[in-house]
Structures are given as structure tokens and as C-alpha cells.
Amino acid sequence: MVPVNYYIILSAVLFTIGALGVLIRRNALIIFMSVELMLNAANLAIVAFSSVIKSFSGQIFVFFVIAVAAAEVAVGLALIVEIFKSKHSIDVDQMSGLKG
């Protein structure tokens, strides 16, 4: 029997790696992948808690999170393609058109 705390700590570590990826990488696609990693870490924590309280609600929430993540990826990648078309780069430092 694995204590649920282990799952929670693993989830926190994965979430932090995702947050670190958003902070230190400049490639918009990698930043987007890091966001997916953070969503995944949150899902892991939800399933672990729902497994402890023996309820299905957590699993159903995770199912919805996965569906929303799929929708988000479709729109987000379309936006990245569009940005690449106009700027010929997906370096987030280049996206400074509104800077005074």
C-alpha cells in the first residue's frame, strides 16, 4: 500500500518542474508543453485524493480536465502557428509588439 502523501509530493514536484519550464524557456511550444505538464500534475493529485476518499467525482473531474486540455491545445497551437506566420519566430521574447 502506497501512502497517498507520496503521490501528492510527486504531483507537487511535477507541477514545479512545469512552472519552472514556463519561467525559464523561451520557446513558445516548450512553454505550452510545460503548461500541459502542470495540468497533468494537478490531475494526478485529484485522482490520488479521489482514490483515498473512494469517490468517483474526482475521476470525472479529471476526465473533464482532459477534455478541456484537448480543446485548449487545439486553439493554442492554432495561435502559435498564426504568430509564426506573422513573426517567423516563436521566441516569446520577440513578441513585444505592444512594448512602448
Partner: protein, 174 residues
């Protein structure tokens, strides 16, 4: 040390290593492949937690559909590696320090204050059977029917939105 604990520790090591690989590799294709491995590992965690449906959804939707979309866009744009530009040299050390603080704080508070007690049922016990899956479906289509339908509309809107965003407009000079 039971077999289950050993499995957990090995998988946790793989999950963290692949997440770090995603973060550190210079080529975006390698990052995407590391992330596929990470998602598959998390799917095995879902199996250990007695959630087979979520595990399969994870493999098909995350490791399958979403990451293929990512790889497709990376190769379409030819954006495997962008030239390294360091605009803010102080950003990396500050980010790493803050991340270490975040993980220590989150782990401490989640373990001590949230007090999740008890262990996780090993797979194969009664909470992980076909009847379980049937109950999950029944809950999804009765108690959570409205969110389920809203999700279908959301997916439709996302599909239309993605098409509208990348569509070439006629007669518009870019």
C-alpha cells in the same frame, strides 16, 4: 518494501527524469517525446490508483492526440531549436530559487495541513473491477450529465476556433 512501493518509486523516478528531460533538452522534438513518456508514466500511476478509465483516456488523449498535435506543429514550423537569446540574465537563477521554495512549501503544506490520511488501494482489489467502471459511467451520465454536454459544445467551439484562426482569408493581403 512491498512490490507496489517499489513500482511506485521506480515510476516516480522515471516521471521526474522525463519531466526534467522535457525541460532541459534543446530540441523541441526531444522535449515532446520526453513528455509522451511522462504522460504514459502518469497513466500507469492512474492504474495503480484504481482509475483504469482515466488511465486509458490519458494514453489516448494526452499521449496520443495532444502530443501528436504538438509534434505536428513543431515539424510544420521547423521550430526544433530557436537561437538562444538571453534577454534577462538574472531570470534563470531567480526562477530556480523560487521553484525550489515552491516545491518545498507545497509539499510541506499538502502533507501536514491537508492531512490526506490512509493509503491507496492496490489494483486488483474490489475497488478496481468492472462494476466500478460501470458505476463511473452511470455517475458520469446522470449526476454529471450537464457538464458532459457542455464539454461537447466546448470541443465544437475549440474546433471551429482553430479552423477560423489558421484559415487563409480571401482578398486580405498580409
Amino acid at each position: 518494501m512491498t512490490l507496489e512501493l517499489v513500482t511506485f518509486l521506480v515510476l516516480a523516478l522515471i516521471a521526474i527524469a522525463t519531466a526534467l528531460g522535457m525541460l532541459l533538452s534543446r530540441n523541441a522534438v526531444y522535449s515532446a517525446l520526453f513528455l509522451v513518456l511522462n504522460f504514459t508514466t502518469v497513466a500507469v500511476f492512474y492504474l495503480l490508483l484504481g482509475a483504469p478509465f482515466i488511465a486509458m483516456a490519458q494514453v489516448t488523449v494526452y499521449a496520443g492526440a495532444i502530443m501528436v498535435l504538438f509534434l505536428f506543429v513543431i515539424m510544420l514550423l521547423g521550430a526544433e531549436a530557436i537561437p538562444r537569446t538571453q534577454v534577462l540574465p538574472w531570470q534563470k537563477p531567480v526562477a530556480i530559487t523560487l521553484a525550489v521554495i515552491l516545491v518545498v512549501e507545497a509539499a510541506y503544506l499538502l502533507v501536514t495541513k491537508a492531512r490526506p490520511v490512509g493509503g491507496v488501494l492496490p489494483p486488483g482489489t474490489e475497488a478496481n473491477t468492472m462494476e466500478n467502471l460501470q458505476q463511473l459511467g452511470e455517475t458520469l451520465f446522470t449526476q454529471y450529465l450537464l457538464p458532459f454536454e457542455v464539454t461537447s459544445i466546448l470541443l465544437l467551439v475549440a474546433m471551429v476556433g482553430a479552423i477560423v484562426l489558421v484559415r487563409k482569408e480571401k482578398g486580405v493581403q498580409r
